[in-house]
Amino acid sequence: MPTNPLARLMKRSPLKYLQEHMRIVLQCAREVPALFEAVLAGDQGRVEAVKEKIFDLEAQADTIKNELRAGLPKSLFMPVDRRDLLDILQMQDSIADTAQDIAGLLVERPMEVPGNLEEPLRSLVERCVDVCEQSLRVIEELDELLEMGFRGREANQVEAMLGELNRIEDETDRLGLELTRRLFAEEDNMNPVSVVMWYRVIEWIGDLADFAEKVGDRLRLLIAR
């Protein structure tokens, strides 16, 4: 129990927690390509192993999330709105949750990959992880934003990074559509349940990028005011 008024005045910066959380979340998302490689190789053992890794990282991220929430009483005065902060945290967490969902499904329901889906699947997954990478890059700028009071050159720079984030996310949307088109063409040669499941997996892969973009969108609000 810190007794000194100055020590009690300054709490650990919630922005630091946010960055720590996002780093773990990104590690989690980075496992997704490995997961699909294992699926493509038909190596169910490896799929299982990657899934374990993802579940483990997701649990770590949850711990940080809970710590941050627990240490955020209403009496805290912060340079950013409490609501915005919690929203960003929520979006980051959704990325890890989505990765977890994908891994869980692929373990529980081993799926075959039609040949002409392989390449577009790879590029979609890669690109979606890129969006997450960019989103962490933006989150890493929070220190600098704090130093600058969320204004000035630094804010402009982050604005530019957010523009890039939106651009990559748009790309994933197109890649997702392309993959859906290929899947549609294959529908008649596949088990109907597999088709439904593939649609769902494609949607979830896209969600990785969607949530990563939303992290950026929420962060934009911090600079806006």
Partner: protein, 421 residues
């Protein structure tokens, strides 16, 4: 009257002991609060802080501690009703010292954010009301003092806020922040020396028989400012870009420029604290001394003997050496959210406010002003998270300290009175 002549030496010895006890307590607990922002930002080590504090607390007490001392000594109580019973004032001052000292010990052990200043002022008012009468308290002076307790943290916060904005504009938001920091750094160091020196020496240092006109004070402040700016410049020149750290945090090298600058604000803060808080311990001592040495003259015209200021300075340094450094180490490890640039703003703002108050003879709380200054930096969106509950606990500590100090002092007053008469 006879009591004074009979027990005069005893009173002086007791007063010195109580005064040392009080200043020891200030050195043990309060100094750490003053230096907390410097140590916490990692700009200076605990060892450096202790050395800086020892030297500059003493200097502050010695050079600029006179005004507040005289307020505590003769500004709060109107001695007119007790000209015929000077011993009452002696008992009262001794009781106040003891009350404040004990209350501080209890409060620090419990970890309450209690101010030494509030304790002693509350104690003196309490004794005066109980021992002499409600009218013996100079209520308009008290009103001024209490107002300063509210205004000073706000002023500290405001100055810190403005400093923060200027650093952002001139340094952080420039095209080459590191070069800008090196360019403007000496100017910011100049400001530290100039402000502290100007406020301290404005129109001279009376107790050192150093008369100065306004112009002379300004000139000497400029000279001192330039000297420290020169030293600052030399230190800043040695700072190199740390490319590795910059990759992680773009402003890492810029912050490194502020590190040597913090050394100067730490000195300023110790000086400011010495100039204000030492009076809490030696004000009552000085009062007792002048009554006894004048043979029972309550209306205190005599000057403050310099050795009394020295006693205060010694008490603080001893407190620092015995316990203060440990408290400082604890605080240093807890306040890590302040970067050197923020620490600079908060510390300079607090030091300026405290020295200004000292100069006007207002006893203020250094700790509360430091809290105000940090909040000022926070308002400039400069700190990750500030827990505003501290403000509530500070207000509660006011509401408790004043009456408790007063009641304790009244109690001790009647005890002492009973013992000696």
């Amino acid at each position: 009257m006879e009591i004074i002549t009979q027990y005069g030496d005893v009173f002086i010895v007791i007063a010195i002991i109580f005064g040392l006890f009080m200043t020891w307590g200030i050195g043990a607990n309060d100094v750490a609060n003053a230096m907390g922002t410097s140590v916490g930002s990692g700009a200076i080590t605990v060892t450096t802080a202790v050395i800086v504090a020892a030297i500059f607390e003493f200097a502050g007490a010695f050079l600029a501690g006179g005004h507040v001392t005289s307020t505590i000594r003769k500004g709060i109580i109107d001695p007119a009703p007790i000209v015929d019973n000077p011993e009452i004032l002696v008992f009262g001052m001794l009781a106040s010292l003891l009350a404040a000292g004990i209350w501080l010990m209890v409060a620090s052990a419990r970890g309450w954010p209690v101010s030494t200043t509030h304790s002693i002022v509350g104690a003196i008012v309490g004794f005066a009301m109980a021992g002499i009468g409600i009218n013996a308290v100079q209520w308009n002076k008290i009103a001024q003092i209490v107002a300063s307790w509210v205004v000073s943290p706000a002023l500290g916060g405001f100055i810190a806020f403005m400093l923060m904005l200027s650093i952002r504009r001139l340094i952080l938001n420039s095209e080459h922040p590191f070069e800008s920091a090196k360019r403007w750094g000496p100017a910011y160091v100049f400001m530290v020396g100039f402000i502290i020196c100007l406020v301290t020496m404005f129109k001279g240092l009376k107790h050192l028989k150093l008369e100065m006109s306004v112009g002379m004070s300004v000139v000497s402040a400029v000279v001192l400012g330039l000297v420290v700016a020169g030293i600052g410049w030399a230190l800043i020149q040695r700072v190199r870009v740390d490319a590795g750290a910059d990759k992680d945090f773009h402003f890492a090298s810029v912050e490194k420029v502020f590190t040597p600058m913090m050394l100067f604000t730490a000195c300023a803060m110790a000086f400011a604290h010495g100039s204000n808080d030492v009076a809490n311990g030696i004000g009552p001592l000085a009062a007792v001394l002048s009554i006894v040495s004048s043979g029972g003259e309550v209306v205190q015209k005599s000057d403050l003997p310099i050795w009394v200021l020295v006693v205060g300075g010694v008490g603080i340094v001893v407190g620092l050496a015995t316990m203060g450094y440990r408290v400082m180490r604890t605080i240093g490890t807890r306040i890590t959210e302040l970067t050197p640039s923020r620490g600079y703003c908060a510390t300079l703002a607090a030091a300026t406010t405290v020295v200004l108050a000292s100069r006007t003879g207002l006893p203020v709380s250094t700790t509360h002003i430091a809290v105000g200054a940090v909040i000022g930096v926070g308002l400039a969106r400069g700190i990750g998270a500030i827990d505003l509950r501290v403000i509530g606990s500070i207000i509660v500590s006011w509401l408790v300290t004043l009456p408790v100090g007063g009641i304790l002092a009244a109690l001790f007053f009647f005890t002492l009175k009973g013992m000696f008469s």
